[in-house]
Amino acid sequence: MMRCQHCDERDAVVHLTQIIENQVTTMHLCEACAAEKGIESSGPGTMPLNTEFLATVGKGVGAGLPGMEDAPHATCPTCGLTMQELRDLGRLGCVDCYKAFEGPLRELLRRLHGSTTHVGERYTPPDAGDGPPVEEATELRERLKEAVEAENFELAAELRDLLRTAE
């Protein structure tokens, strides 16, 4: 059995996973040292934190990125972010990345937050009146068409629901 990293005397029974500077690190502690740090194991080998969630945050955020297999070479036309970078770094490079990687991101957001729909404050940028206003429904119809053409039926179903609400 692994030794406790703190006292180096007793066996490590608590395995604490943390994200430090985007690196997932795991600390192995004995019961006594863990208790000293305010963490207790509720049984041998169990983790006090929701490590499954934590492992998907930060560096690993894109590791389980769904849809990558479908579009492994997708690249954002504006900032050049690649699917591989997104997978490795778990960060987006610009506003247009949200469109370039929409399918996988939608699934990721649902996993992280339980849904993809923002219900908080709405925001209108100060220059919103400058160009011709694009109706939400028009934009959705456009995106639905693209999704159907790309045979991305899961996304198409989502967009259809949104379109119904918008109309």
Binding site: I20, S42, C94, G120, P126
Partner: protein, 360 residues
């Protein structure tokens, strides 16, 4: 060394032990992550673009009510000791201060005035933050929300009709809101109830961290409790949910303290007085030991067992005994060995309590 004397209370009014439940809750923070729509995010932008972000945002803040007279600190022009100092005062993240890598990103800045500030060119272009002493979620949000509304009329933020505010990391999308409450829970740790409470947190969409945020260890029974998700709930619901949970934990902690005093008064009295005794008389103190002893003394003060010591002093010592603060106090401490620094720390803590004794 940078001069923070122009900031109200040196940039630490959030530690002045005022506000609701100040005996348990040290401070409340609400931050909003925002990006400029027409600029690449932190991961992909270059130094010139960061400089533009800095200039644009600074100009926009000049017209706001909250930050019209604010101070802009260019972190990329500060020495690492000064950046560490700002981090220890909870004004900037470890990442923005470049403490992990030793390199600060060009354009990294902080605009701050009273209880509101903006971190510039962190992973997101703007991280607006409101900090309050005690348990004050609505107040902290109100201030930061007012600033957000004003800035949003002057700058075009990245916003998506379905996903909400767009951020560099998908974990912040939607409201971009992370609220956290810094709370002292020695009663739950001593009665060994803390694991249950912390496990319960993750089941209700909340998370915890140590005193210095992401990646920091829990030391001295100080926990930062915050929301884990940012999308699919309104700002009000996120704050309301965290607030309810914190109130419940405050109640659990009070019950735990009550049980400890009822069932083991001698043990508790001995524990808090030992902590205070060591703080007043020890000749060498490490950071970790200091935080643990401050935790013990804080429990004693909150329970009314230790008179003539203020929570304000204990709060301030938590920050002022951190390495960069100590180094600033003892100029030239950079050349000192860790054990010499520990001697300085103990002497500073002793002096503080002697002074407190005289003033009360």
């Amino acid at each position: 060394m940078i001069d923070l004397s122009l900031l109200s209370d040196g940039g630490m009014p959030w530690l002045d032990a005022s506000g609701a439940h100040a005996d348990l809750v040290l401070s409340t923070r609400v931050r909003l992550a925002r990006n400029l729509r027409d600029r690449r995010f932190g991961l992909k932008n270059d130094a010139a673009e960061r400089a533009e972000v800095l200039v644009e945002v600074e100009a926009a803040t000049r017209d706001t009510e909250a930050l019209s007279g604010a101070m802009l600190l260019r972190l990329d022009r500060l020495e690492s000791d000064d950046r560490a100092l700002l981090h220890e005062r909870h004004l900037v993240s470890r990442d923005l201060a470049g403490l992990e890598t030793g390199n600060v990103r060009p354009g990294a800045g902080l605009i701050v005035q009273n209880r509101v500030g903006i971190m510039l060119n962190e992973e997101d272009h703007l991280r607006l933050q409101g900090l309050q002493s005690g348990f004050a979620l609505p107040e902290a949000y109100q201030e930061v929300n007012a600033l957000d509304s004003e800035l949003g009329q002057r700058l075009a933020f990245a916003f998506h009709p379905e996903f909400g505010y767009l951020t560099s990391c998908p974990t912040n999308v939607g409201t971009g809101l992370r609220a956290s409450v810094l709370i002292h829970l020695p009663g739950l740790v001593l009665t060994k109830e803390i694991t249950k409470v912390l496990q319960g947190l993750s089941q209700v969409g909340l998370t915890f961290r140590g005193l210095y945020g992401e990646g920091s260890e829990v030391v001295g029974n100080f926990f930062q409790l915050s929301n884990q998700t940012t999308l699919a709930k309104s700002e009000f619901d996120l704050l309301d949910h965290l607030g309810k949970m914190v109130r419940q934990i405050v109640e659990y902690e009070e019950q735990a303290r009550h049980i400890l005093l009822r069932d083991a008064p001698a043990v508790i009295e001995d524990k808090v007085w030992r902590a205070y005794g060591l703080l007043c008389h020890a000749r060498s103190l490490s950071v970790e030991e200091t935080m643990n002893l401050l935790s013990g003394a804080r429990l004693g003060v909150a329970l009314g067992l230790i008179p003539n010591v203020s929570l304000y002093t204990l709060n301030k010592l938590l920050v002022l005994t951190q390495p960069a603060h100590l180094a600033a106090r003892y100029q030239g401490a950079a050349g000192l060995t860790p054990s010499e620094i520990d001697i300085h720390r103990a002497s500073y803590v002793r002096e503080t309590f002697q002074h407190e004794d005289r003033t009360l």
